[in-house]
Symmetry: D2
Subunit: 158 residues, 4 copies
């Protein structure tokens, strides 16, 4: 364990319903309040909502973008890292965090969850969807629970 | 459609039981007999078995290795491409094929399946395991059925 | 132009002589004082020296590591992003910055410089070495000049 | 050493003058005649010319494309691997070969040459351009010499 801020990734769809976005925003806020750095894919939907929450609470937000243009990042992303790697940047979102909170669950999110599990990054689900609900992965009942779970694990990998 | 050989990826665990390996070998053989190029992760288990089957039937076998040493490839791999990208090479296995046959299903396989679905590469399951059995993805009853399904789709993306 | 902090990458060898390290530290300090975020490869030598300079001046330091272990980052890296991509992370160091300062010049540095030029990221050299001295790229006479040049360009790509 | 075919990458600009293309075609032909597999970036100019030469001589041609569409590959590419990684695929071209022949030399080519040198893949230059001419890398006088040099080294890393 170091005195670095824990890094928590929030994964979720780029287009999401308002309920999931509200959940993501609360997760982002919680990460920031807990002293964490938010990592996400940098675009809309769940990613943007989590970044808004974290930024509003004064936290650092890093967006790993698929494209080469940092201007594509959501305004709540403080540090856009435009990887130019396309969807392959998903593996970076999963791998560079100390823990992952996956909200909802479409194919892109599932790819991040599965990759994180493969390489040993802890994952917690929140409001899992059909693709993710049956996975042998802990599911948090509330945003606060997901944040607490993820921050604790991310601190060990800070 | 071109007159290029269709590329079919076979995904599965690097350590697998003999039954899954036998299935993978039959899939590899079928891909080669159907004129396809086999793409896989280049290592053991399902990957090696599929490569053995394809090579025995005279097919081309390409292994996208995680490490930087081509000598780590299974002997049945004719063209080892040692990416040096670590587990991130999973996204290349999924993305560079015209269709994917996923055998069994551990976390790494699931990451490839989910990534392929995300980017629009057709996937068929064979002997799905707990992590993959509930996915809304076609499941083939036999190796022959999986091969036929995958080759047909890979020909459209050759 | 946005109101985001400009991102400047500092590239250079992982083992460097004290003079180059002193130059790198001054560059890092200048980036931070100018309100910039430092991006580097996260390891020793020039990378670590630049991070030390930036951190000492209160700046944010991001290290894109080749390996999968964030603990391998130099202590001056506030946000280690352990990509697991091996040396291929060099292209991310070059691509995710708004401008690049290349100090000295061994093969790895040259790969970053060339990749940045290929994809249109501005590069300035400082104390170029044999491999880089003849390139048609601006050379700064002092760390301050390099920082000023890079920050100005990075602000346009913030 | 194995009995695998040696893999030789040919790097060069996507738009090239007829002289360089003629040289590249001869290199491709030589690689195929020597029993080698050609790896390249899969697009036009030097890449396409090398692939034409290799294909005409009955050799296997693999194109590592930046985009996600295999149909973008030059017709002489037998196995298009559409990485979707953008220009970052340059590092794969360099890394997955057993040796590299670099023809001409623009920024993209230089990035491949420098990356190959960084990770220990042998490189030979042919008709170097301003960016590459001063590098401490062997220069071949003729296509035949470049092919012979590269095949010999690629056989040790087959």
């Amino acid at each position: 364990m170091t005195d670095r801020a824990p890094r928590v990734a929030v994964c979720g769809a780029g287009v999401a319903d308002p309920l999931l976005e509200a959940v993501a925003e609360e997760v982002g806020r919680g990460i920031a309040r807990g002293g964490g750095v938010l990592i996400c894919g940098g675009l809309g939907g769940v990613m943007a909502a989590a970044a808004r929450g974290a930024a509003a609470a004064g936290g650092l937000t890093i967006g790993l973008l698929p494209g080469a243009d940092p201007a594509a990042a959501d305004p709540a992303i403080a540090v856009p890292l435009a990887t130019g790697l396309g969807e392959a940047r998903n593996v970076l979102v999963a791998r560079t965090a100390g823990a992952v909170v996956a909200i909802g669950g479409e194919w892109g999110t599932l790819s991040e969850v599965a990759f994180a599990m493969k390489v040993g990054i802890p994952v917690v689900l929140l409001r899992p969807a059909a693709l993710t609900a049956a996975l042998p992965i802990p599911t948090a009942a509330t945003p606060a629970e997901a944040v607490s779970w993820a921050l604790e694990r991310a601190r060990r990998r800070a």
